[in-house]
Symmetry: C2
Subunit: 269 residues, 2 copies
DNA sequence: CACCAACACCTATCTGACAAGTCAGATAGG
DNA sequence: CCTATCTGACTTGTCAGATAGGTGTTGGTG
């Protein structure tokens, strides 16, 4: 590690930090367009490829976005994007569905309670829209999309960016398990009305009721999962991909298109 | 986007997925050493550069680790590493200290309660070690290191990987605020004994007591922060870096060395 | 047996080049 | 004068080949 630093004048990390300070936090690139890679590379005295790798890192963090033929644009931070790496790690870990439900329950209960205090009329309207879409949805995937949108909007309604990030980091996993839960009609029949209970409590500014309804809603999965409860999330996700998606498109694409459609703009609060 | 896919036979994402399935989830590379970049590039019919960028992506996700002169090694996933990108995004967002305390409080209360149920004797011994180190610590940084180690060990004691990841994603931010809190002797005098209260409750398997003590401990910061409470975390972090660190080394280095020292191996649970 | 030097690998990086997308401005045709 | 088209100068993405520097092994020498 140290040897690499000796060889060239600047590390990738150092360059990345310098660039973020200059273009993301700093006031340069006000229109959002950064100088071209050639210019930047020359300016810092590194090769274009080296700079490219640094930019790739920033892109993976969601700080910038590159367009072939156009240039590199500074991007408004997106909570969802930042959390993207996290769930791949969870999928690798030994985390089980039970672990996820436990963590998610606590988090979402807090979100429900805080949303009851803070949700704006616009927040509520968005959540109502998502629930109506869930009722009228045709097919498993549209249902799950509306479902995850509702929960994400609830997290957004807390107006706490940290909570939004935390929920964002498990959104994909929650989506996996929703796909599994919704495929069971009985579970759906029991769980769906609770959405309205939650929303009603939020409207009434009744944090405690919202929390209770959410708790009930999340923990329904504990009964429905049975044997899968202590199975690793990875296996569940794999099965879902095979059974439901049939490799038409990736889970992440479906998820992010849903969040776009329901204008869940996690971040930029 | 589509144009790029047309040009070459395989996307970066597709190759990344193929590689992970083969070497991370799959059984190849049992010793942890992957084939060299030359071989892999030839095998997939892509250039070394292209493969390199894919590997760089995997490395950023903490899936692999490259050693110059040795090769590319498959790496056991580290929860802390996976969450690294998240806090840079939080720092960019408009999140305030109040937001962090709110989210962290709820999360850590749950961790304390669950740790009381599940902590092993080894977990408890590690936490005791960290607390003793905190008492004997000399200087702000060693104190904060012991402090964050204790809280991380508590999260580890839940034996829930998802909770560990969630806590990992805000560890850096918590560390920032600890550095600020510990610099105030009065706050420290009030907050430090609560650590022992928490640990005692964990030992007694008293989840409720552990939760209460943790709640009190976290929310102490609300009094100490005063004007800073609604200031953005970014500013606080910047000030800390300037005042405390004086650019000797980065916050992340200090933090990760602490977690290593106290053998907080978030992940691989 | 101990040592060490040459060698064969590895990754990291640089150079120079070309393909392909994008956009503004010149230019030709109406 | 207006409009449609085309050219050229940008941009990123990718490539092959060469070099630098680290690491481990192997075989020869003392």
């Amino acid at each position: 590690m140290k040897a690499l630093q000796k060889r060239i004048g600047i590390t990738q990390d150092a360059l990345a930090q310098s660039l973020t300070e200059r273009f993301i936090f700093g006031e340069e690139a006000l229109d959002g367009l950064m100088p071209s890679t050639r210019i930047l590379a020359e300016e810092y005295g590194v090769s274009r490829l080296f700079l490219r790798e640094v930019l790739a890192g920033l892109q993976r963090q969601g700080l910038i976005e590159t367009f072939p033929g156009k240039g590199v644009y500074v991007r408004k931070p997106s909570m969802l994007n930042a959390a993207r790496n996290v769930h791949t790690t969870i999928r690798q870990s030994t985390a089980t569905a039970r672990d996820l439900i436990e963590a998610r329950g606590n988090l979402e209960e807090q979100c429900a309670a805080l949303a009851a205090e803070r949700a704006t009329t616009e927040d509520i309207a968005q959540m109502e829209f998502a629930l109506k879409a869930l009722d009228n949805a045709n097919g498993l995937i549209p249902m799950a999309q509306a479902d995850i949108a509702f929960h994400s909007l609830l997290a957004k309604s807390t107006h706490n960016p940290v909570l939004q990030i935390m929920f964002g980091s498990i959104t994909t996993l929650a989506f996996d398990t929703m796909l599994r839960s919704l495929s069971d009609p009985e579970i759906y029949k029991e769980g769906a009305p609770l959405h309205y209970t939650i929303l009603k409590a939020v409207k009434n500014r009744d944090g405690l009721a919202a929390r209770k309804a959410m708790s009930k809603h999340i923990h329904l999965a504990e009964y429905s999962y049975k044997n899968d409860l202590d199975r690793e999330l990875r296996e569940i996700a794999e099965r879902i991909v095979k059974d439901v998606l049939q490799s038409t498109s990736s889970i992440e694409e479906i998820l992010s298109s849903a969040l776009k459609e329901y204008s869940v703009d996690l971040g930029q609060s």
